[in-house]
Amino acid sequence: MDQASVNAVPISSSDDKLSSKVLTEQGQSCLRMLLRVWFEFERSLSKVPIVQRLEQNRLSIEDYQKLLLNMRQQVIEGSRWITQAASSFDRDFSDVRSEVIGHAYDEHRDYEMLERDYVASGGKLEDIQQAQRNLGSEALHGFMMYRSAQPNPIDMIGAMWIIEGLGNKMASQWADIIATLADDGDSITSFMRYHGENDEAHMAELYELIDRVCQSDEQQSAIERTAKVVGKLYLLQLEEIDNV
């Protein structure tokens, strides 16, 4: 049995039961909703042409370079919306703010790893540094900056859910497939692998936050909406890779 492919959902593979971190009925309902949204997102993801090539072992090294080049523009901006979200939480949410700041700190230089992978896979540093955001990245970034500027943007947990889930998927599924494209596969997949390892802990933190930020049906539907919008725009970003 191929054990490597089994953890591609935004959950922990460890023995700790993540759901035990979510105790309230509202929180449990929110968790089930988030998992449902994830599964829907993951299905749509598998239909994006470049992801199809990846998952069906038809990805070329050029494809991978394009993938990194297009993701980098969003990753480098990621720390901006996270820090903005942190500053949008007022004193009543200072505990949430602390979590979000920690998260921002952990990830704000991830893009450097991504750039090294790009160079190791044969790309030129100036190309990835000078590339423009694609249409999807533009929309995704715009939406994130807008939502994270709202007062107490608890719905951003929906955005983090999708993005952390993706990090988990990259580390547990995509990195192994991509590693076969180069003689030294590890040298071109450090971002995906590291990002995923980190996301395991981030996922646990997200689970812990669910009870805190989702205490009403209104909050749950705001979280659902943001998770779905972020999923859609992320798909657009990946679809646009074949158009640039």
Binding site: S5, R32, F39, R43, S46
Partner: protein
């Protein structure tokens, strides 16, 4: 109009075969014991199963006859005469004949006159398609009683000679995988528009197919060489198709985990639609193909905060084997005969299929 499963029946051919006995039935490929067998059996947890083959790999009973025996068993356990059956709905992944439909053959064997028939084709979930077709027909008052039969005889695909006929020197894990998973058997349900003693009311049957997402996961008809896009009938002769491996039953194990994800995803959808309330479920009958997948389903449900206590889960996979579309029928039959349950109990049924990812669900209430 409510519809009830009022009786069940099965046929399991021959003696139960334990793990050590498998190759004495299916044969040693090129005279050598398999290297993968132990690993795959440890993962699926199956201890005994049945084969409609003898030690010389001759068929001891064909698929049609097994289906008819299960149907007869079911009618013998019922309160009605065979002449009252208005519809025969059958499922199999492979009949004895390529044509006509399986239900025609089963009807002839049963000697049922002038009835409506339906053949459902597919893999594990085809049994649920046949069941749903019968259920909707009875619910719509088209018939007072319908017989549903699901039967599988995959062992014919696993004879050592099949593997020896393929022109290759490399071991083909995906082609061998199912040899240690699947076995033979048949099951039947009688559906009626009124309850009797020991009835299960069908509250609903729903299914979600995801064939549009991933490539084929379990199949017969594609050659070993994945770059060759021909399917079995595109070859000049069946002999060349067989040599190219296009008649082997294969599982793309890399894609298998998707079955679990889609299965849990469908379950979450049913929760959202209010069709299932976790706290009201008394029994879970899930056709998981192996112990390994059972634990994966558990983990995922747990992480989703939607877990159902393990004491409520029932399966006879480990003793009856994985009989594809017949599995669920054989499971409910044994559950009904051997487990304790009471009026009002809710039985959540799940049948995931890896073929190209179809997941069927059903809710039964004991009346």
């Amino acid at each position: 109009m409510s519809v009830y499963i009022n009786s069940t029946g099965i046929h399991l051919p021959g003696e139960a075969i334990d793990n050590d006995g498998i190759e004495s039935i299916l044969g040693l490929v090129h005279g050598k014991p398999s290297r993968l067998k132990k690993k795959i059996l440890a993962s699926n947890g199956i201890k005994t199963r049945h084969y409609a083959l003898d030690a010389h790999q001759n068929t001891t009973i064909n698929n049609t006859d097994m289906a008819a025996l299960a149907a007869t068993d079911c009618l013998n356990n019922s309160a009605i005469a065979a002449t009252k059956v208005g519809m025969l709905s059958c499922a199999t992944s492979q009949g004895d004949l390529v044509l006509p439909g399986f239900a025609s053959m089963v009807q002839a064997q049963l000697g049922l006159s002038n009835i409506e028939i339906s053949s459902s084709h597919g893999i594990c979930s085809s049994g649920m398609m046949a069941l749903k077709n019968a259920y909707t027909n009875v619910a719509l008052n088209e018939h007072d009683a319908a017989l549903v039969v699901a039967s599988e005889l995959p062992s014919r695909l696993f004879k050592s000679t099949r593997y020896e006929a393929v022109d290759t020197s490399k071991p083909d894990f995906n082609a061998e995988f199912l040899r240690w998973m699947l076995s033979d058997g048949a099951g039947a349900f009688l559906l009626e528009n009124k309850s009797r003693k020991n009835s299960f009311r069908i509250d609903w049957i729903k299914s979600f197919s995801h064939a549009d997402i991933h490539p084929v996961c379990m199949s017969i008809g594609m050659p070993t060489n994945t770059a060759d896009t021909r399917t079995w009938q595109d070859f000049p002769t069946y002999a060349t198709a067989e040599a190219a491996g296009a008649l082997m039953i294969r599982q793309d194990v890399r894609l298998l985990d998707n079955v679990v994800k889609f299965g849990v995803s469908g379950f979450l959808t049913l929760l959202e639609r209010g069709l299932v309330n976790i706290n009201e479920i008394d029994h879970v009958l899930c056709h998981f193909s192996s112990k390994y997948f059972k634990s994966r389903i558990f983990e995922l449900l747990e992480d989703a905060g939607a877990s159902i206590d393990e004491s409520k889960w029932y399966s006879n996979l480990y003793t009856r084997g994985n009989t594809g579309c017949a599995s669920f029928f054989i499971m409910l039959d044994e559950f009904a005969r051997t487990q304790s349950y009471k009026a009002g109990d809710q039985i959540m049924c799940m049948v995931p299929e890896s073929g190209r990812f179809n997941n069927a669900y059903m809710m039964l209430t004991v009346v």
